[in-house]
């Protein structure tokens, strides 16, 4: 075969996306084309007051508004030099964690799982395997209830402002959340049992370099450093030295390289880096860790994270419900520069702002996980392409595996296209 071009519009992802794979005389090329319209959120944020930046940032994405909100507010807090008491950090992290769980549920059940049952759509899977999908709906609902208790509502949180929470969550609210999480934990166990046993298509990660935001303690906590699987650890504010960006003409999203290399961010990276900290889940971790060099295994990591975060948040909330919490600190407006990094559901998220002495944001830069993964997806797709060239895979199968591959990464295109080229 001398020439073949596969161009797949991928469905069941957030936003519009096309994956193009061309095979020419044995050479393989893949293009991850984000065709979603430009959103230019960074330009919208520049010139605004500091307290407005997180409000706008949370509108970047409906699915992970909390991650964007928290990353943005953390960046601003760092820029203003706000020292947060432990209680605030704990609740802030819980908010992020439970959102990761909820997002993972949505991705797993409604976007990724239909592939593994040969169903084209969710409704097809629902008619064939109603019990499974009902667990998904139930779990999603339970997680959303907890999100609502912590964040005020299910999108665009309104309980938190620079310097802390507006109110102390009442005791019965927290108790209710703990109760709900207890119920969710049981369901999550079923899910993990189920998903970890799934048979995955075979593929070896072509570029096993991972970046995660550092968790000083536990899993998915918010730190000031970025860790790489090569053993390097750098301060979040130094990210421009390590992560280079590039505008490509075929896509509405930028692409990123870490020290010149293609890298991956996401659930797999998190489990590989911090999996051993998941107390009580050691069996699950050891059962999937061998598979994690397969990009498709992201769904297993995600399933595991659902259970891990639910257990974690439950424990934390249970512990703080009887305590007197300090949930607010004072801050003053001053000029400065700050970077907020955290693990969004789809991986490392970086918000970077510069603030002037009047409290206006004069520079904003947002790097989203999907944009960072763009090149990695291309490389994985090329590995699949090579299999076609070598005759291991026929074209019909390849098409299916390509869209499954993209869905395994769970890209979120509305997040990826806010970038502007700055002169």
């Amino acid at each position: 075969m001398s020439y073949l071009e596969l161009s797949e519009r991928i469905d069941k992802v957030f936003g519009h996306l096309e994956l193009r794979l061309s095979l020419r005389n044995g050479s393989v090329d893949a293009k991850f084309r984000v065709v979603h319209d430009m959103r230019l959120i960074e330009a919208v944020i520049e010139g605004r007051k500091v307290d407005e930046a997180p409000i706008i940032a949370s509108r970047i994405c409906g699915a992970c508004s909390i991650a964007h909100f928290l990353a943005s507010i953390t960046a601003i807090e760092n820029a203003l030099g706000v020292e947060l008491p432990d209680d605030i950090i704990l609740l802030k992290e819980s908010m992020n964690k439970i959102q990761v769980a909820q997002n993972n549920v949505v991705h797993l059940f409604f976007l990724a799982l239909p592939d593994y049952y040969n169903a084209r759509t969710l409704s097809e899977l629902l008619s064939r395997n109603p019990d499974l999908i009902k667990v998904g709906f139930k779990l999603n609902n339970l997680c959303l209830q907890v999100v609502e208790l912590l964040a005020g509502r299910i999108v665009n949180p309104n309980t938190y402002r620079i310097g802390g929470f507006t109110k102390k969550p009442s005791k019965d609210k927290v108790e209710k959340a703990v109760r709900i999480l207890g119920e969710a934990e049981k369901l999550a166990r079923e899910v993990v049992d189920h998903v970890t046993r799934l048979e995955l298509p075979e593929l070896v990660d072509p570029s096993p370099v991972y970046l995660v935001s550092e968790s000083p303690i536990g899993y998915l906590s918010i730190g000031d450093y970025i860790l790489s699987s090569t053993g390097e650890k750098f301060r979040a504010v130094d990210y421009p030295k390590y992560i280079s960006e590039e505008v490509v003409d075929y896509s509405n999203s930028k692409v990123y390289r870490y020290n010149g290399r293609v890298f991956y961010v996401g659930s797999r990276a998190r489990v590989l880096e911090y999996g051993e900290r998941l107390v009580g889940l050691e069996d699950y971790v050891s059962s999937i860790v061998k598979e994690l060099n397969n990009p498709y295994a992201n769904i297993k990591a995600k399933a595991l994270e659902i259970l891990a975060t639910i257990m974690d948040v439950k424990e934390k909330l249970d512990e703080l419900k009887d305590r007197d919490l300090r949930l607010r600190t004072e801050y003053t407006i001053r000029s400065g520069e700050g970077v907020g990094v955290l693990e969004a559901p789809r991986g490392l998220l970086i918000h970077h702002y510069r603030v002037d002495s009047e409290g206006r944001v004069v520079y904003a830069n947002i790097i989203t996980p999907t944009a960072m993964n763009a090149l990695h997806i291309e490389h994985s797709a090329m590995t699949l392409g090579k299999k076609i060239v070598e005759g291991e895979l026929d074209v019909v199968e390849a098409k299916k595996y390509l869209s499954m591959l993209v869905r395994a990464y769970d890209p979120c295109l509305p997040c990826a296209v806010h970038v502007v080229v700055k002169q």
């Binding site: 605004r48 007051k49 407005e52 409000i55 706008i56 005020g152 509502r153 309104n158 309980t159 402002r161 507006t166 109110k167």
Partner: protein
């Protein structure tokens, strides 16, 4: 007994009843404001209008039933006219939600305004934070006084300012009252403007709102 058709459904009501009795018996409803059964039946607010089979619009609370009467409670024409009536009611209503005793979401006008899409009532009407807890008292630039109500004020409920995502009220008296509030609580108007630009940047009346606020704010208190 008299046979009446409400939205083509047949019901029987006693001699001397009014349309509203038939409507309720048939399982439908019409909004009422001034009507109080057995006490007040003057049809002065007119919000309860319904359409008869012959096309006339009559107030349901005060129009007696007759044999074979056909009544429609929710036609396009009825809704359009109720909207106008509501606008007229609101036009003569002093919208000062911050000092109204029916605050915290117990406002029938607010419910109707939401249902018929009439602007005029600000978020303060459904905000539970009036009085000492109001965010204005804390010096925060809440957009509640100039934002269309109907959201249930989820933001102020959680203690964060209203950022106006439901859109602005363009009525002059509401804006004047809001400017008075901002001034009373010493909220700098620049702060308010900055928040207004979050969601209303392209609103056609933005300049008008700016000017009214500014005028009142700088022109001293007009009661």
């Amino acid at each position: 007994m008299v046979k009446v058709y409400v939205n083509d459904k047949e019901v029987e009501v006693g001699e001397g009843s009014y349309i509203i009795d038939a409507v309720i018996k048939a399982g439908y409803s019409v909004p009422t404001l001034c009507f109080f059964k057995g006490i007040y039946r003057e049809a002065s607010c007119r919000i309860c209008i319904v359409e008869l089979g012959n096309g006339r619009l009559v107030p349901a609370c005060a129009y007696p039933v007759s044999e074979g009467l056909r009544v429609y409670t929710n036609t396009e024409r009825v809704r359009r006219n109720r909207r106008v009536i509501l606008e007229l009611i609101l036009a003569s209503h002093k919208i000062k939600c911050q000092s109204c005793p029916r605050k915290g979401g117990f406002c029938q006008l607010l419910d109707l305004a939401r249902e018929y899409g009439v602007e005029g009532i600000p978020v303060c009407a459904e905000c539970p934070l009036h009085g000492n807890e109001c965010l204005l008292v804390r010096g925060e630039p809440c957009l509640g006084p100039i934002t269309i109500a109907g959201c249930g004020s989820p933001c102020t409920r959680e203690g964060t300012i209203c950022i106006g995502c439901r859109g602005p009220i363009t009525r002059r008296d509401v804006l004047v009252e809001a400017a008075r509030l901002y001034k009373e609580h010493k909220i700098p108007l620049e702060e308010v403007f900055s928040k207004m630009k979050l969601f209303w940047n392209n609103h056609p009346s933005l300049d008008k709102i700016y000017n009214i606020l500014l005028e009142t704010y700088n022109g001293g208190e007009k009661k």
